[in-house]
Symmetry: C2
């Protein structure tokens, strides 16, 4: 069963006491640069620094008592892991997080700070999945996939639900695409709550599995994602979000690494906020396709803000 | 004539169409660290990136037609210069800005981008004043001092006016002190609008002229301010703000450079916002005096966000 709009509304009610209602910011400088009216939903200000706490909290709160006792487990390059760790801590249950060794330090620290048990694995989906299976066999924890999970998709959809409640005049809403959980949930919310809004996916060119899959209308994988957007470096989208995306998303655009870094620097310098590279892809696709967005009311979901500030700043021009 | 509360209310009405009503953010992580309830007024999101646009706009809009024709002039390490340039551009009049050669590049670029005519001078108040006098002799422009000016003080006071309208339960409001324009205006707003709120000044130890003057109850200057808070590196406060501060400010606290850098990193990393070093002094004095602020509702004015991101990030631990 795919999640539907009721699942998103229920998720919103369930998670509201545990998350921030994040602000929507505007920037006259970026409006002038893009010739569009941009509205930025700041999930970088969200609890645990990213939208992922929405899906993780919805999943943790949806477990039965019996499931909850044994805890939750997942694999994650960082944001979902930290989010699941925090959500589990809030319910007072164990969290077992499998992280690739090359995860950003700031994300490793965040997961540890929320009291989760970390198991490191080799980068790549195969290494992650094998390791998490071992952890689950040992602990009996419930696996909460970072995006291929109905509770998670419904939880991520609440970003869109909140956004549409605040801004009901969006012509376009741009959502970064990694595994597809966020855009699947948001596109479901869009169809029910703001059907006139075109939902557009934004993806790094170097990890364009979603772009290719969307075009081919079947799930395709790419061998080795090449992007510094660690949150979007997926080889293949989830099988649960994919049909939802096919049905409700208008298009997926890609942007080069160079444009993504430029977009990131623009957001930091002009908006004075810190977002992670994955969050800048939405602005990057506007910079690469100005005519499509010109004079439109465009929503952008700034997915998170957990970065190694020093490492990012050295890449700025 | 010192400005009074009516001047602040009038300034608010005058400048409202030209400025942002900036958001007040909170951070559960920083509340936990400080054991206080912190409310951050984000003037880093303000037009031209700092609160200075308030005073500059109030000054420019208060000029007679005849004065306005010949433009405005000032000396500034950056934020006031950029603000005056933008305010002048909005009224369509010339702006002549004298900047020390060691001003941050980002601030030089901002002033230039607003179409002002820049004259560079040697760092230090003497060099600035001599140069601006020459510029005024040549152009007939009206001198708008960055802080020793009634219009400017009334304009800066609107930050406090706005803050108290949104949060009427502040026990303490911390304001960074450079030349004294901001804290003078805000303390006037406080006395009228929130008399139970203690106004506290925050100053770098290496530029503690305000701390010394406040204690001695007379204006004292220090020879060579040593602080990386470029906006607060003043040798002596203004003669107009000083008596207002003496009358309305509860205390001035200082903080070391090391604590200021720690506070800056905390704000960037935990709140995901970019503020300039001068804005972090308020949090720094809380970190150095935890007992004074414990369990209190504390407002902090994040004065601005115009920084060289790379240069700051390299100083982070």
């Amino acid at each position: 069963m795919h999640p539907n709009f009721d699942d998103i509304k229920n998720a919103a009610t369930r998670i509201n006491p545990f998350i921030h209602h994040t602000p929507v910011l505007t920037s006259s400088v970026l409006n002038a640069i893009t010739q569009a009216n941009l509205f930025f939903k700041c999930e970088n200000f969200q609890k645990a620094g990213a939208f992922k706490i929405r899906g993780a909290t919805n999943a943790v709160l949806s477990l039965t008592e019996r499931q909850a006792e044994k805890g939750v487990a997942t694999h994650s390059s960082g944001n979902h892991g930290a989010a699941l760790a925090l959500a589990a801590k809030r319910r007072g249950i164990p969290a077992y997080i499998v992280m690739p060794t090359n995860s950003p330090e700031v994300k490793k620290r965040a997961v540890a700070a929320y009291g989760a048990e970390i198991t490191y694995c080799e980068p790549g989906l195969a290494g992650r999945e094998a390791t998490v299976e071992k952890v689950i066999a040992k602990t009996g924890a419930t696996f909460i996939h970072p995006y291929n999970n109905e509770w998670v998709i419904a939880g991520q959809g609440t970003v869109g639900y909140e956004f549409f409640q605040e801004k009901n005049s969006l012509d376009i809403l741009i959502v970064p695409v990694g595994g597809g959980g966020l855009i699947a949930g948001v596109s479901l919310a869009g169809r029910a709550f703001s059907p006139q809004t075109k939902i557009i996916g934004a993806e790094p060119k170097g990890a364009d599995d979603a772009y290719r899959s969307f075009k081919a209308k079947k799930l395709l994988s790419i061998p080795a994602p090449q992007t510094f957007c660690d949150g979007l470096a997926t080889s293949v989208m989830g099988s649960i979000p994919f049909p939802i995306i096919l049905e409700n998303v208008h298009a997926i655009f890609t942007a080069s690494e160079e444009t993504i870094i430029n977009a990131l620097q623009l957001i930091w310098e002009r908006m004075k906020i810190i977002v992670e590279p994955s969050a800048a892809v939405s602005l990057a696709i506007i910079l690469e396709n100005p005519d499509f967005f010109k004079d439109k009311n465009v929503g952008l979901i700034l997915s998170g803000g957990n970065v190694d500030i020093k490492a990012i700043a050295t890449r700025f021009s």
